[in-house]
């Protein structure tokens, strides 16, 4: 459904845009209907930029983003509108997604104005109630309220309901639960999981490995704009191949295991791995550009599990 094909993003930074900063470097990935792909990375890994490029909030510097076979960056006018009917995004801070001087349900009216101008009132209200029921919100509790009267969890769920009013196929969820409390975040997670059963694909952007692991079918680990490891979630988490992946896994606070214990387990795992999983399968040397410019940047080490070179490349 969604395919990123060797996508690059370069920002101009510094005075008068004199320096270039590569935020996303040669990223290729797919999101299928009903699949949750989690993009996991620390700040500066380019995970948010990828989400924003898919939503066309940032332009693509190089490469193609395709949705159902069409290049997203060429969409204009009517075609773009029908793209947004299928692809929607939700962001980290629910309070900044809503305009504080209007009532929160204005987001629904805006969808109506844009996409459902001819719908009669009764049908529209039925649609809103159905969407709110899908996200387990009581209409009486959330309609006709200002954003500050609602909790963060309620607001995030309203945004999901807003996306459901449209006929969405793909949802970009950018850190949507990191500002929520532990007691409510899991409900929003479950809601996302339920969306997949109706065929919606989710691109789940997070820095939290535990959340990514809970929800996703495919895990993509990003570092400094490069995919270092990608594959089915159970394979990546059970058998991480890249030193950066094990480093991240070792830093997550567990509830029943101390860091020292997790580290010892991962050290034993690392000892079994070779120095570089990529070059064990591909020609060339770590840190050197491959002789063949078309050589893929990721090597398949088992079916559906690919890894990049372990070389720690300098920033730039």
């Amino acid at each position: 459904m969604l395919r990123l094909n060797r996508v690059w993003k370069t920002y101009r930074v510094g005075a008068f845009g004199t320096r270039e900063l590569t935020a996303v470097r040669d990223v290729s990935l797919d999101v299928a209907p009903g699949e949750v792909v989690s993009l996991i990375g620390e700040s500066g890994s380019g995970k948010t930029t990828i989400g924003r490029m898919v939503l066309r909030l940032n332009s693509v510097s190089q490469g193609r983003i395709e949705f159902d076979g069409t290049d997203v960056s060429t969409l204009r006018g009517r075609a773009l509108k029908s793209y947004y009917r299928k692809v929607q995004g939700i962001f980290q801070d629910p309070y900044s997604s809503f305009n504080p001087i209007f009532k929160a349900d204005r987001v629904f009216d805006m969808v109506r104005r844009q996409f459902f101008a001819g719908t009669p009132n009764a049908t529209w209200h039925g649609k809103i109630e159905a969407a709110l029921a899908d996200v387990r919100l009581d209409p009486a509790q959330v309609l006709n309220k200002y954003p500050h009267q609602l909790s963060g969890g309620q607001l995030q769920r309203m945004l999901i309901a807003r996306a459901l009013l449209l006929d969405i196929k793909l949802l970009i969820a950018d850190e949507i639960i990191s500002m929520l409390d532990a007691s409510t975040r899991i409900d929003v997670m479950n809601l996302l999981a339920d969306l997949t059963s109706r065929g919606v694909g989710v691109l789940f952007v997070t820095h939290d490995l535990a959340l990514g692991n809970y929800l996703s079918t495919t895990t993509v680990i990003l570092r400094r704009g490069v995919i270092v490891e990608m594959g089915a979630t159970d394979k990546v988490f059970a058998n991480p191949q890249h030193p950066y992946s094990t480093h991240l896994l070792g830093s997550v606070p567990h509830l029943h295991k101390k860091w020292s214990q997790v580290e010892a387990e991962l050290a034993r795992h690392d000892a079994r791995l070779g120095p570089c999983g990529y070059h064990a399968h591909m020609p060339g040397r770590c840190g050197m550009p491959p002789h063949d410019p078309d050589q893929p940047m990721l090597a398949e080490i088992e079916p559906g599990h690919v890894v990049g070179c372990s070389y720690d490349q300098p920033l730039g």
């Binding site: 620390e42 532990a182 899991i186 409900d187 692991n213 509830l255």
Partner: protein
């Protein structure tokens, strides 16, 4: 005995009335102990942390006694508290940026800070540099502006600065929540190391993440709606919690390894009660799966085993 808090009550004054954010809290933090303070937003954990160091303008001390090393702290008197701040009690805020002066180089800021408290920068500088080495920061951070450091480096700098005079108590309010997993681990381990080296004698770590609390704290205190719910050694809280709120909080937390398909976690329904007019009886009653008639009466916070106190009728 390092810190002793007895029946502390603090309220916020608002136009609609007083919000009883901290409603009678009694606990001790021993010499050399790290205590984790855990709860949802609005449970009073930040209010408690702030009351120990500085009440802001909206906060009003009602009653209760706070003693540090046997000396009563004048927490309701802003000027009298100055004698204790930084030298006896120190604070690490959530956003390091709000602790560092953006227009001063870090070294100059520290010099001004020390001089304002009557200490000589030159004589403390060797110790400062030694501690920077210890947390893995290059010495030239002192010649840099805060904006030149990453979030993790800034937060480690703040920890070094706030413990420079070897205070008795350090209060870290969500000090790692804004950081990535690997920086989070580095800062958390810095806190433990500083305690081990006696740079600071006891630490209160305020966090919403109970798994982080488990990694570094010796004891964990769970708060709910301005009151204590449970306090016990970290191992006991994690492995055999007795308060239904603690249990629910942990069962709603996705851990690495828990997958949506295998085990669907559930959140805690409802939200904490408003503290403007707190309900009588047990405050968790409305959300509690075990609630029964006696819960209309407020459960006392009693010790059920050595070092394990719970406020629940079902646990006693």
């Amino acid at each position: 005995m390092s810190l002793q808090v007895d029946g502390l009550r603090v309220r916020y004054r608002t136009l609609r009335g007083d919000v009883h954010a901290l409603d009678g809290v009694t606990f001790e933090v021993a010499d050399g102990e790290i205590m984790g303070l855990v709860g949802e937003s609005g449970c009073g954990k930040t209010t408690l942390a702030k009351s120990l160091i500085r009440l802001d303008g909206r906060m009003q001390y009602v009653d209760g006694v706070v003693e540090l090393d046997g000396v009563k702290l004048p927490i309701d008197d802003q000027h009298a508290m100055n004698r204790f701040r930084f030298t006896q009690i120190s604070f690490v805020p959530q956003y390091a940026m709000s602790a560092l002066n953006p227009i001063r180089k870090i070294g100059k800021m520290i010099a001004e800070l020390l001089e304002s408290r009557g200490f000589d920068y030159k004589s403390i500088q060797p110790e400062l540099e030694r501690r920077l080495d210890l947390v893995g920061l290059p010495r030239d951070v002192l010649r840099r502006y805060p904006i030149e450091l990453s979030g993790g480096m800034k937060q480690r700098t703040v920890v070094v600065v706030s413990t420079l005079l070897d205070p008795s108590l350090l209060v870290a309010d969500e000090a790692t929540s804004a950081l990535d997993v690997s920086n989070q681990k580095a800062v958390a381990e810095t806190l433990v190391e500083f305690r081990d080296r006696r740079f600071v004698r006891s630490v209160i770590v305020v966090t919403h993440d109970i798994s982080l609390g488990y990694q570094i704290a010796d004891t964990i205190m769970v708060m709910y709606a301005g009151k204590q719910a449970e306090k016990a050694p970290a191992e006991v809280i994690v492995n055999s919690p007795r308060h239904p709120y603690t249990q629910a909080l942990m069962s709603s937390l996705p851990e690495v390894g828990v997958r949506y398909e295998d085990r669907r976690l559930a959140g805690i329904p409802g939200s904490p009660p408003p503290l403007l007019n707190p309900p009588s009886g047990c405050r968790f009653r409305d959300r509690c799966p075990l609630a029964f008639d006696q819960c209309a009466e407020e459960p006392p916070f009693v010790e059920i085993a050595t070092g394990h106190s719970v406020a629940c009728w079902k646990a006693a």
